[in-house]
């Protein structure tokens, strides 16, 4: 049974690591700079699509295409960021999620470019199967010792990157740069009077978030091997928020805790085969999962917004 199958849990571990990177990208924007970007999934989508299109249509080697995807996400950050950074918090939230929906609609409706609703499968047109992650699979195969599931390598790579990235951002947070960000979060006028160019700092956080989101999106696309516009719905952004909130949205090292808990929750619902949940068929379990995610969002924001490990006083959520 799946519950004791290590290959399954390795797969979950790999996804958890990718989600941790995604949540870190959100951390850079939301927890460091105070920007409630509700459209984060757009960075992931744009990067994955750019990468796949470059590989499949223009025969660009995967590592270069991956860089191209990151560049595409950063471009999006500039296009969206420059006008909207001065918006009030909830308007920024609405504008960014509207923007991410525009991206998804464009991906859905430009089949010649993006494969339309079929996504990456349809990128080369009907009848031709498009695969973009050949080089990734080859790398994983190369790195994996005989007898070990491939997902172990993926999980290891992903988590090593995640931990290094978190450590780097923790450094950044402790540095004078992080101090300026903290000031900007609380009082932009004070930061300006202290000689700091607030807009430039916010853009830096946004671009950092875009880069991390791009990496997460590309890893996800490579790991799963196929994607479509439906994989990039706003719900994904809210997974990242829940991960941050679970662990503690102002504690960077709580991100691994949050992403592991979230992944356990997400994949664990398939094991709930006892009454009354066994009444729900496995297809409908997906909806139960989403219901629980919504419930957790509400419960944590209501009762414990600082998450499991966070510090309530420094949270500044009452702005």
């Amino acid at each position: 049974m799946d519950l004791f199958n290590p290959a399954f849990w390795l797969f979950v571990a790999a996804i958890a690591g990718i989600y941790a990177i995604m949540a870190l990208g959100l951390y850079a924007q939301f927890s460091l700079a105070g920007l409630p970007n509700f459209g984060n999934v757009a960075f992931m989508a744009v990067a994955a699509y750019a990468m796949a299109i470059l590989v499949v249509r223009l025969n660009v080697p995967l590592p270069l295409a991956a860089c191209g995807g990151i560049v595409a996400a950063v471009l999006l950050a500039f296009i969206v960021g420059i006008p909207s950074l001065r918006l009030r918090a909830d308007y920024l939230a609405i504008a960014t999620v509207a923007a991410s929906e525009v991206v998804r609609y464009l991906a859905m409706n430009l089949p010649d470019l993006t494969g339309g609703p079929l996504g990456s499968i349809g990128m080369l047109g009907p009848g031709q199967v498009a695969m973009y992650n050949g080089a990734w699979l080859a790398l994983i195969n190369f790195l994996t010792p005989v007898g070990i599931p491939r997902d172990a390598t993926v999980a290891a790579l992903v988590w090593i990157f995640a931990v290094l990235a978190i450590a780097a951002l923790a450094d950044l947070q402790r540095s004078p740069w992080g101090r300026v960000m903290k000031a900007i979060r609380e009082d932009e006028a004070a930061a300006t009077a202290a000689g700091k160019h607030v807009f430039a700092f916010k853009m830096q956080a946004l671009v950092l978030g875009a880069v991390l989101g791009a990496i997460a999106g590309e890893l996800l696309a490579c790991q799963i091997g196929v994607f479509s516009p439906d994989d990039y719905q706003p719900t994904l952004t809210f997974y990242a928020y829940l991960i941050l909130i679970l662990g503690g949205s102002n504690r960077i090292w709580a991100i691994p805790l949050g992403s592991v808990l979230f992944s356990l929750l997400y994949s664990g619902t398939r094991f709930l085969n006892f009454f009354p949940l066994s009444l729900i068929d496995s297809g409908a379990r997906a909806f139960l999962r989403l219901f629980l995610i919504g419930l957790l969002l509400v419960l944590f924001m209501a009762i414990r917004p600082q998450g499991i490990l966070g510090n309530r006083y420094e949270l500044l959520l009452d702005k």
Binding site: P176, A193, Q204, E314
Partner: protein, 253 residues
């Protein structure tokens, strides 16, 4: 002249808040900007410090044009301001509030903390030292590790003053420094302001609503009413000026 303002104009919704204001502030002086409520004093401050864009006019600081510069650029040029209600960062420690304002911190450049570790750490040590000395000067050293949110109103004013000084400015704009402070603390603040001038060579330009407070400390006084400068001179001269008396008495202040 350290600060020269020529024909400054700014309106809001068609109403002129600052209507052709010109004045100059000499280096090494304490100059006060006074006038009844609504005279446009804070608007002048906001225009000079870059927090508002002027609709017309020229502003020169140490000979250089600064009208149109952003607030942070003006601050970096050596003209630092405080706020009427002190804007301290409540969720940050008192010491870090001061450290924020130190200029030339390589660690504030994105990525420098990774590629220039030693340089960043060295500057941090220097900045921390400087901030600790400032706290001692302000007699707040026992509060260094506390959240600034726990400070009283008067202590916050001192902290904001200290933050302004951390940048080693040429000139400070103080927006109603005595407002909302108990008289005893106000005297202490007055001492600090005088000390600023003598010890550090900082020019002071302050807004104050209360004429009495200001007379004892200023070298020159500029009086505004309804968006214009109506008088300028020594405190004694201004106090006797008929137009000034009328401006203050001619409305239910």
């Amino acid at each position: 002249m350290m600060l020269e303002v020529q024909d400054l104009r700014r309106s809001f919704g068609g109403v002129a808040a600052v209507d052709g204001v010109s004045f100059a502030v000499a280096e090494g002086t304490i100059t006060a900007l006074i006038g009844p409520n609504g005279a446009g004093k804070t608007t002048v401050f906001n225009l000079v410090s870059g927090f508002l864009r002027p609709h017309d006019g020229r502003i020169r600081f140490t000979g250089r044009r600064i009208d149109g510069l952003r607030g942070d650029a003006v601050a970096r040029a050596g003209l630092v301001r405080t706020f009427q209600t002190p804007r301290v960062l409540t969720r940050v420690s008192v010491l870090e509030n001061l450290m924020l304002a130190a200029p030339d911190q390589p660690g504030e450049r994105f990525g420098m903390c990774w590629i220039a570790r030693r340089r960043v750490a060295q500057r941090e040590r220097d900045v921390r030292q400087q901030a600790a000395e400032m706290l001692t000067l302000l007699r707040l050293e026992h509060l260094a590790a506390d959240y600034a949110g726990t400070l009283s109103g008067g202590q916050r004013k001192l902290l904001e003053l200290g933050r302004a000084l951390m940048a080693a400015p040429r000139m400070i704009l103080l927006d109603e420094p005595m407002a909302g402070i108990a008289p005893v603390l106000a005297l202490q603040l007055l001492d600090h302001i005088r000390a600023l001038l003598t010890q550090r060579g900082v020019t002071v330009f302050l807004i104050e609503h209360d004429m009495e407070m200001v007379m004892g400390v200023s070298d020159r006084v500029i009086v505004m009413d309804e968006g214009r400068v109506i008088a300028e001179g020594t405190p004694q001269a201004v106090q006797r000026d008929e137009r000034v008396i009328e401006a203050y008495l001619g409305r239910a202040a």
